[in-house]
Amino acid sequence: MASLEDRVQLLEDIEAIRRLKIKYARLCDTGYDGTKLAALFTEDAVWDGGKEFGVQNGRGAIKAMFDDMSNDLTFALHYMIGHTIDVDPSGTSAKAHWYLWEPMTYQGRAILNAITYDDEHRKVDGEWLFSRMALTFHFLTPYEDGWVKTRMVTDG
């Protein structure tokens, strides 16, 4: 049986990881500051956007990707929903799953984006960071089309 302190620590870790993801969302939604976003990732982190958006290896590559993001993506709201967070018994790594509902404006066009995330975390110097963020795109559709007519706008 875990001690009361260990049980409180687990709840604090879950809350900290949850907050990290929402911080990521808020930085995306307020202009994609590459420096601040990259600071949420470990030095060796991987951002995996799949075949649609490619893979970035390391904090520097992740920063560069985010620095360019708002050129065409002029508006976005990342609604982070339905988290499941599992902290490893070591207390220094964790895995998380999230849903994302994201209305956005891309090149002047209203787009609806539905993603799930598989994230991995490491606790570095007492702070939880992303060590891996993997995105699965379920649809990325022009608002006026809907997801039956156009599942992925990147296919068109």
Binding site: L11, R19, I22, F75, Y79, E144
Partner: protein
């Protein structure tokens, strides 16, 4: 958490976060139930009791309203126009002050609304303040930053960005 805090203090913080989260979600729940009701008498005292007496409600679109009676008038105005509302209130970031008597919270909301008979998407973020009085958390200051209010059939890309308030 600094290690000098006792386990009981750390647990108290987690309980306060849960209580503030539930307060905000009760605000959404009672507002939606009130606005959707066929024979509405909203805002009722149960809803207004979620707020401190000197509470403020403000947004970048609706202006600033201070005190419980001003809030009653603001919400009654909505009730006259809105026949359906769902506030999907999402992703809380809640900070409890070291005193344990004040808190702030950020949320996202994705709202489906019928206003003046028309379907509307409304997307907003909240930067709210809370106070604990007589062992109960109350809403002290709602700041709603509306990101877009768009007719369902039009979508949000055609709208000019709304000016945003600071926290």
């Amino acid at each position: 958490m600094p290690s000098e805090r006792t386990v009981e203090q750390r647990l108290q913080r987690l309980e306060d976060i849960a209580a503030v989260r539930q307060l905000k979600h009760t605000y959404a729940k009672l507002m939606d139930a009130g606005l959707c009701h066929e024979n509405k008498a909203w805002p009722d005292d149960r809803f207004l009791a979620l707020f401190a007496d000197d509470a403020i409600w403000e947004s970048n679109v609706h202006g600033r309203h201070e005190g419980r009676e001003a809030l009653r008038a603001l919400f009654a105005g909505w009730a006259a126009r809105i026949t359906f509302a769902k506030h999907h209130t999402i992703a809380p970031s809640i900070d409890i002050a070291p005193s344990g008597a004040e808190a702030s919270g950020h949320w996202y909301t994705w709202e489906t609304i019928t206003a003046d008979g028309q379907p509307i998407w409304l997307a907003a973020t909240y930067n709210d303040d809370f106070v604990k009085r007589d062992r109960r958390w109350l809403i002290k200051h709602v700041r709603s930053n509306i990101q877009f209010r768009s007719p369902y059939h039009q979508g949000w890309a055609a709208e000019a960005p709304l000016p945003q308030m600071g926290a």
